[in-house]
């Protein structure tokens, strides 16, 4: 007979305590979610922390580096700055440097980007017929970074089964463990 001793704690709980276990789990998830949303509000960026996925910005950023972004409207985009942008229709954010900027008096900008480690500018990456990026494509400007840590995210995305296994394991542990 399979004796699942680790479930004994659960069996001895009444309805209220079981509900509290579920709430406990929900509170941990909520705390992470609220911190993320809080960062979104404070930085003004829809994705305040991104992971560098390619080596196109070497030697400045390597694959696996974690970048912190801000996206304040009042800060202008200037040539030489590192921006993270999304091409329309594609989900993946790209981290490159601004090469050329055209700015009108009213503040509208058109700019061209290029990865430091690439031979050509990004026009090949933009949508069909698009030659310039505008403000709305920008996810944020890089403000700081932490090296290597993002490798975990890359591994989790390359091996989704591993990610689900870790999350499921953690979830079960929190639900079963009595505090």
């Amino acid at each position: 007979m399979l004796q699942l001793h680790f479930l004994d704690d659960l069996r001895r709980m009444n309805i209220r305590q079981l509900f509290y276990q579920v709430l406990n789990f929900a509170m941990i998830v909520s705390s992470a979610l609220m911190i993320w949303k809080g960062l979104m509000v404070v930085t003004g960026s829809e994705s305040p922390i991104v992971v560098v996925l390619s080596g196109s910005m070497e030697p400045a950023f390597h694959r696996g580096d974690l970048l912190f972004l801000t996206n304040y409207d009042h800060e202008p985009i200037r040539a030489g700055e590192i921006v993270v942008f999304k091409v329309e229709g594609r989900d993946i954010p790209i981290v490159h440097r601004v090469l050329k900027v055209h700015e009108k008096e009213d503040g509208t900008v058109k700019f061209l980007t290029k990865g430091d480690n690439n031979n050509v500018d990004d026009r090949g990456l933009y949508a069909n017929g698009q030659a310039w990026l505008s403000r709305k494509d920008v996810v944020g400007r890089a403000r700081g970074f932490v090296p290597y840590i993002g490798i975990v995210t890359i591994i989790m995305n390359d091996y989704p089964k591993f990610k689900y296994a870790v999350l499921a394991g953690l979830g079960v542990f929190v639900l079963i463990h009595r505090e």
Binding site: H5, D8, D9, Y20, L23, S30, S31, L33, V41, R178
Partner: protein
């Protein structure tokens, strides 16, 4: 009294405390037929539910109206969530104070207000002294009495019935 005392890992302090608390609760409720009052735990559940409610609302709103528009609502929800967390911490520290069971000694005639028994316990990390404190507040007179008891947990596996008979 439980026929099968639960097996507890003697090195897991948390599980030990929970098992001992359960045994004390069992004595209070079944031996003396007191009625359990769930007010304290219900309060904690309510605060946590409100907090989780805010976070779920934020999740839903952001999904319906993507980021830049949802900024104000997001701000409110995040602040509200952390305020609720603060309330929860205050509640646990000052109101609950380690109380794991509130039992009411109901008056048989149903006229006089109930006596309230509060059982609270503490078991410090890496320590083997279990402190149990029973406080009684008589309904009629409003007077409060406290009875504290400490027990050195022995190195052999705990036998809960033995501990409970020692209590009374």
């Amino acid at each position: 009294m439980e026929e099968n005392p639960p097996k507890v890992n003697k090195w897991d302090g948390n599980a030990l405390k929970n098992a001992l608390d359960d045994a004390v609760k069992d004595v209070l409720l079944s031996r003396f037929s007191y009625v359990e009052s769930h007010r304290l735990l219900d309060g904690r559940l309510l605060i946590s539910s409100i907090a989780v409610g805010f976070s779920l609302f934020a999740l839903l709103w952001d999904w319906l109206y993507p980021f830049p528009q949802s900024r104000m609502v997001m701000c409110v929800c995040v602040v509200a969530y952390f305020i609720m967390m603060g309330v929860l911490t205050w509640y646990t520290t000052y109101l609950e104070r380690g109380i794991f069971c509130t039992a009411l000694n109901k008056d048989v005639a149903g006229i006089d207000p109930d006596d309230v028994w509060n059982a609270s316990s503490s078991l410090k990390r890496f320590d083997n002294k279990y402190h149990l404190c029973l406080s009684q507040k008589t309904g009629k007179t409003g007077k409060a009495k406290k009875h504290a008891l400490s027990s050195q947990l022995k190195t052999s596996l705990m036998r809960l019935e033995g501990f409970c008979t020692a209590l009374w």
